[in-house]
Symmetry: C2
Subunit: 348 residues, 2 copies
């Protein structure tokens, strides 16, 4: 029999197992917190009181100033732009076109972005560029929507957009302030680094990150402007899941199937966050080793055990709940699964 | 201070740290064994007595029947073909051409391979195929050299090559027998699955895997034919590192810089093996979560602490000992490093 106390006190319990043939081939450890808007931990496993870089998983929090400053209204942004501001998109034509049009609308262009260029994560889109001998642009960067949102607030206030990715630029000061407020974190004292797209990345505890997401989901205790911004951002994510992620992505599928209850956002190095408006809860999860494949399986297990899916929805999402592993010849050779003992004890 | 007893008894100590800015962002756990040809454990960390799928890391052991059956001599194979038989190559033109020529020499073709087709892992080679609207062939599969070696023994004995990837085919029976002998493993009772390239994958303990590699490195106790085959295979790897791996790969760089002392071979899901002829030792290593990036840093740490590199060689190999992490805009944002405490205690 499993021993709850051992698991709960293990700072990094096994969350996900990679099975091949007759045995578990690899194991992913980690921690997660399910928290309400007041900061109460409803469910957890592992160490949730240590700083973790949230990476792209808190983009919905980083988008708050875009709405609160009035920039979104000044430039007539709709749900599509707000979804893109929260996105780690796949660089498909739809993403590139909409970000490009948005930049034009605020009087800027691709050259004002400071996120760098990388090939689209969407394979057909990447192959189309390669076939055409076209290098990727900064518009293809998965963070180009978020960065355009950043630039939008600079334009709104007539600030020089150059250097907007630096911590001391007014754009980034607003972003850091919003994240600090929502997560109850002293951002100046937390460990810091630089994110993949160049902006500061600040270590937050999983508990704090989950509380920030819970406040988005249940903004009843927030000031008027922030309450409105929170609702508008989560509504935009639910309305345009494809713009938040990309074709075939877990984020798209989950929000298409269960978008009334669930907003999810992943981050690099094995992070996932979720906001659950109907339950008034937030989730933050980190795979210790940084594996995205495990973060996906783990977030699905938490959502499932919190009752976010009907049995029909669970069937539709089964390819993400227990993904099959196929080999090069397309033969099924294994699967990924949540380590049931950890989740059943932590979330039941 | 670190406490050796804690570390040694931890079944999965931290081997590698991913650092970003002011803190460790992700951690990789695992285990490794350094063993001599008699099976004595010289150094270790973590649980080395549990079955692990070796994946491609034991290709040098799987190549033994190619030499021992006389197939290599019958078809006039040189060091290049033997290196390819041990390879997880990158699908560059040089790999594809040499495997194709070898298949022709034994009267077979690409269609006889049963490994499946995937895009080359070498990026320029993959992009060249995409630009030309050419799908990858089975020759591009990183295992095509190993599979051609398998087919070579079938042709040598006039066996029907079809189904050579199945456990009950004479080809695979010879391979499993050789691996079982070299690692002292009862292959019929060990946990089994199917590998990425379709052949059986059998769970071996890290200790057994390391002993198998040590016997390759110090074959003095082996029967004449196997002793000769072991030496010929390791010599081929040292003579043609580019054929074992691909441009810019760790395996190529290490064997080009320190090939007199070190033969290395990685496997999927975070496995690495090494044979050290001058020390008469074998190494087997598994990252618990399956991450290749961590297996690379960990094998370098073990080799370094075993004195395999001169200070000049260590400088040349530093990009693999402590790889830098750069972000999309090519700014250095972190590094990967061995968890010194684990290695200094286990290997000193």
């Amino acid at each position: 029999m499993s021993q709850p106390s051992d698991l709960i006190h293990d700072p990094a319990p096994v969350l996900v197992e990679i099975v091949r043939g007759a045995m578990v081939e690899s194991r992913h450890r980690g921690a997660f917190a399910v928290v309400d808007a007041a900061g109460k931990v409803v469910r957890s496993a592992g160490a949730i009181d240590r700083p973790v870089y949230p990476r792209s998983a808190i983009k919905p929090l980083q988008a708050l100033p875009l709405v609160e400053t009035g920039a979104a209204d000044k430039y007539g942004l709709g749900a599509e732009e707000l979804a893109l501001a929260c996105a780690s998109h796949h660089g498909e034509p739809i993403h590139v076109q909409k970000v490009s049009a948005w930049l034009g609308r605020i009087g800027l262009g691709e050259g004002n972005l400071e996120c760098g260029a990388h090939l689209p994560t969407d394979v057909p889109s990447a192959q189309a560029l390669i076939r055409g001998n076209q290098p990727p642009s900064q518009l293809h960067n998965n963070c180009s929507g978020k960065h355009t949102g950043f630039l939008c607030t600079a334009q709104c206030f007539g600030e020089n957009p150059k250097g907007y990715i630096e911590a001391d630029h007014p754009v980034m000061r607003r972003v850091l302030q919003a994240v600090g407020d929502m997560t109850g974190t002293d951002m100046g004292r937390a460990p810091a680094g630089r994110d993949g797209c160049g902006i500061p990345v600040i270590g937050l505890t999983l508990q704090a990150m989950a509380q920030g997401m819970a406040r988005l989901a249940d903004p009843s205790g927030l000031p008027d402007e922030r309450r409105a911004a929170s609702t508008r951002i989560l509504d935009a994510m639910a309305a345009h899941p494809l713009l938040v992620d990309g074709s075939g992505g877990l984020t798209v599928e989950v929000m298409q199937v269960a978008g009334d209850k669930v907003r999810v956002k992943f981050g690099a190095e094995g992070v996932f966050c979720a906001a659950l408006p109907t339950l008034g809860l937030g989730i933050a999860l980190k795979i210790e080793d940084g594996a995205g494949r495990a973060a996906e399986v783990a977030i699905m297990a938490v959502l499932d055990r919190l009752g976010c899916f009907t049995s029909e929805q669970r069937m539709a999402l089964h390819p993400f709940i227990e993904p099959k592993i196929k080999n090069v010849a397309n033969v099924e050779v294994g699967l990924m699964r949540a380590a049931a003992a950890t989740f059943d004890i932590a979330v039941s």
